[in-house]
């Protein structure tokens, strides 16, 4: 009986449940101050705002679970969004959605392979390796192709931009809130990766190498190949995500995503990933992204100036870190079994 109570208590106070409580409290507080918050429009806004964060967070999550870290995806993403539009502008790339996304993903692949070689073959610390890749990608791009800004989309991307999943019209104000079809990308990515991480030897292998690389080697996992996969997946998916960014934001610059890595890593950590590897899952990461997106997009509804945003995100990260530490303490208190 007691063990069952204890189990229930543990389940109710687990990290994801606490995140859900925090999110719920935040939503309740906002909706008390701004009843307009409780509207499908809010859901659509958050859905739209969270698209890139979610995709990038899944990329980063896979790398973190494998015991690594990738801080190069914003720079790689910039290359992946800039080069295709640049080439198209100069008539060197056909105006075709598949061409744009294909090239973006190919660029991501190249940098993913580079990261993979640096980390799994040359055994560089992942932070340093991907920091180098980041600088090389970002600096190389500016050196080779200059710093322009593309603010008009080629017709094919513009057409993609106009495809919506649903459009909600607010009866009172007449405003319309469209939800882009591209929202399906993070949804699909989450579903697929949740299945991969839980039900395939590839996914379990990533957990295994993140937990103890040496034990994984003895068990017969191909540690190098798995590390390689993590970085390549991260690169390719980040490339595609960058092209989604360009499509939705009508903007492609050489620095658009720079600096995003910290907030993405924060979302992963808040969602239960441990930077030491081996821990984290898609569900937790979704909660982490949701919380951070909520804070980013709805602070003004609480009457807090947007300039407080970074500060507030810092608080969220702190919450995540403290939560992890408290949970670890609780576990020590429970003792070994």
């Amino acid at each position: 009986m007691t063990t069952q109570n204890q189990k229930l208590k543990m389940a109710l106070t687990s990290t994801p449940m606490i995140l859900i409580y925090v999110i719920a409290v935040f939503c309740i507080v906002v909706s008390i101050r701004q009843p307009a918050f409780l509207s499908p429009a809010t859901a659509i806004n958050i859905g739209r705002a969270g698209i890139f964060t979610m995709c990038f967070a899944i990329c980063e999550m896979v790398v973190i679970i494998s015991g690594g870290i990738d801080v190069s995806f914003p720079a790689v993403g910039c290359v992946a969004m800039y080069v295709p539009l640049y080439l198209n502008y100069h008539g060197m790339l056909p105006d075709n959605v598949f061409a744009f996304f294909g090239l973006a993903m190919f660029i991501g692949l190249i940098f993913g392979i580079l990261n993979g070689i640096l980390v799994s073959y040359l055994k560089l610390p992942p932070l340093i390796a991907t920091l180098a890749t980041s600088s090389i990608a970002s600096g190389g791009l500016i050196l080779a192709l200059g710093t322009r800004e593309f603010t008009t989309l080629p017709p094919s991307l513009e057409a993609l931009y106009r495809v919506n999943l649903v459009t909600y019209t607010d009866a009172a104000t007449g405003f319309t809130y469209p939800l882009t079809i591209l929202f399906l990308v993070p949804v699909a990515l989450c579903v697929v990766m949740a299945l991969v991480m839980h039900f395939t030897m590839l996914g379990r292998g990533l957990y295994a190498i993140g937990g103890d690389a040496n034990a994984a080697r003895i068990a017969g996992f191909n540690v190098r190949l798995l590390q390689f996969f993590a970085y390549i997946f991260c690169g390719v998916a980040a490339g595609a995500t960058a092209m989604i960014y360009t499509t939705l934001m009508h903007s492609s610059t050489t620095t658009a995503l720079m600096g995003d890595e910290m907030i993405i890593i924060a979302a992963c950590v808040v969602g239960g990933c441990r930077l030491t590897g081996g821990h984290g899952n898609v569900g937790g990461t979704i909660l982490g992204v949701l919380l951070i997106t909520l804070v980013q997009t709805n602070l003004n509804m609480l009457g807090i100036p947007t300039s407080w945003q970074t500060f507030a995100v810092g608080l969220v990260l702190l919450l995540g870190a403290i939560l992890t530490s408290i949970q670890a303490k609780r576990q020590t208190k429970l003792g070994k079994i």
Partner: protein, 502 residues
């Protein structure tokens, strides 16, 4: 146990870059027997295990498994032939569940692409049943005690059809009771016809479990035979190549009091502890894990100070509220986990030796290099640290030598009282007796020595006075005329069932 031989090695030789790690080793392991492989550190045990498990290919010699000569064996071949090694760190995944840890290797062996969670749970349940352990399959490994992690590792080996299970120093991190449980499991596996090879060099532990014994020394085969043919003297002689006296330590009678502890209490750890240490005494402090034996050492050294009670050192009452207080009163302390708490592994012998007495070598803003080197050389010679110079990093030393460096570090502070927690854990028999010799010498010079340990033979042999702790209280104070069995009974309390039910 049958007479049928499962594994036979003949004249196995292996060298690495000119160093002969194995110089012709013979070994025979029969089906369903428990075979102990013993030898001091560096005798080639690890290399031999790696040869058996296909990690190293021997330069010379032959290996027969199940009557079949095997050549160019790879790790996977060894596994497929039923050889499973359980390394000291168990090679388990802390972040995965018990069930997954048990079943993942098998899934991998079958080249599965997808994970069948139902099958994983079935496999884990089967393994647990065979091992006879009851561990929640959904708990992550990081939550398990060392003993239970070991159960999981054994379970994993068994479900992978182990015919020979090699346990590399399986008892190092276990309590006496956990060792008993492990031996019960080993007996159970033995009855199933599985051969078990245990690497261990504590005769009192293996006496209760092993059928036969093989001893290696310096990479060479020394002797082999039924365990009944060995007594402590032969065992030690075969392992070290020299006779080590089994004489007990007896202090020259003295009434001069060095340390008196009265009513020392720290709530939750120990209560009303009193004892006296006279000149020449080596005082043993023992008890089960959690009895407060280690906490008293920590209190006397100020790591977790006592809340009440008196400590009188050399006739002067002292107050110890911090490590700095303890050091100011010339108390030295060697922690149980010396590798993480007592040594800077990456630094040189010299840096470690002077680490606690560095102020002495400050000459203005500079350090007296010559003085530090001289002091280190003095201790290298004095207590027999095997090292070419004061310069090598401590991590390159063997366990026994590293332990001597910790001792040197404190001796260099001229301690009046020297507390050692588990001073010979992980130390070879040869080095062990040297360390004991050092301690006896120090005691006779008038330094108070307290040895905290649960190694009962060690205590009886080396301490002339033993304080037994139980549940935070002093259960008994005895001299070294006590035998190990009575001492062991004192440790767990007269009424064993009561202890069992806790």
């Amino acid at each position: 146990m049958s007479e049928e031989i499962f594994l036979k090695l003949e004249g196995i030789k292996k060298s690495f870059g000119g160093v002969h790690a194995l110089k012709g080793v013979d070994l025979e392991i029969r089906k369903g027997e428990v075979h102990c492989l013993a030898g001091e550190n560096g005798c080639g045990k690890s290399t031999l295990i790696k040869a058996i498990s296909g990690v190293h290919e021997p330069d010379e010699g032959s290996i027969w498994i199940d009557g079949e000569k095997v050549e160019k064996m790879k790790p996977m071949d060894a596994i497929n032939r039923g050889i499973q090694v359980i390394y000291q760190d168990f090679a388990v995944f802390p972040n995965l569940t018990v069930a997954e840890n048990i079943a993942l290797n098998g899934e991998l062996k079958n080249k599965a692409k997808l994970v069948n969670w139902k099958e994983i749970h079935e496999t884990a349940a089967k393994a647990m049943e065979q091992v006879g352990a009851h561990i929640d399959p959904d708990v992550k490994l990081e939550r398990l005690s060392v003993a239970n992690k070991q159960m999981v590792a054994i379970g994993r080996a068994i479900v992978n059809d182990a015919k020979l299970l090699i346990l590399d120093e399986p008892t190092t991190a276990l309590t006496a009771r956990e060792v008993e449980k492990l031996w019960a499991i080993v007996r159970n596996l033995k009855e199933k016809g599985i051969a078990i090879m245990i690497v261990n060099h504590k005769l009192d532990e293996i006496y209760r479990i092993a059928d036969r014994l093989t001893i290696l020394r310096n990479g060479a085969y020394v002797s082999s035979g039924p365990i009944s043919e060995y007594d402590q003297a032969r065992f030690t002689r075969d392992m070290t190549g020299k006779d080590i006296s089994g004489e007990k330590y007896n202090a020259a009678a003295s009434e001069e009091e060095i340390l008196r502890v009265e009513h020392l209490t720290r709530s939750g750890a120990f209560e009303d502890v009193s004892f006296t240490l006279r000149k020449g005494d080596v005082l043993g402090l023992t008890g089960l894990l959690g009895s407060g034996r280690g906490e008293i050492g920590e209190a006397l050294f100020g790591i977790a100070p006592a809340e009440s009670g008196r400590v009188v050192l050399n006739g002067k009452e002292i107050t110890i509220k911090s490590v700095a207080d303890a050091m100011a009163n010339d108390i030295g302390y060697v922690p149980e986990d010396r590798l993480t708490q007592g040594l800077f592994m990456q630094r040189s012998i010299q840096d470690n030796t002077i680490a606690s007495s560095i102020r002495r070598y400050m000459k203005g803003a500079r350090l007296d290099e010559q003085g530090m080197e001289d002091a280190t050389k003095h201790w290298i010679k004095e207590i027999g640290i095997v090292a070419p110079s004061p310069k090598p990093a401590v991590r390159t030393l063997s366990g026994g030598n590293a332990q001597k460096v910790v001792i040197a570090k404190w001796l260099n502070t001229d301690p009046k009282l020297f507390i050692l927690d588990g001073p010979t854990v992980g130390v070879d028999i040869g080095a062990k007796s040297e360390i004991h010799g050092i301690l006896h010498n120090l005691a006779q010079q008038g330094i108070g020595i307290i040895v905290i340990s649960d190694d009962l033979p060690e205590l009886v042999q080396n301490c002339n006075k033993i304080v037994v702790m139980r549940d935070g209280k002093v259960a008994a104070e005895v001299d070294n005329s006590i035998d190990e069995i009575s001492l062991s009974n004192l440790l767990i309390g007269a009424n064993e069932e009561e202890v069992e039910s806790k």
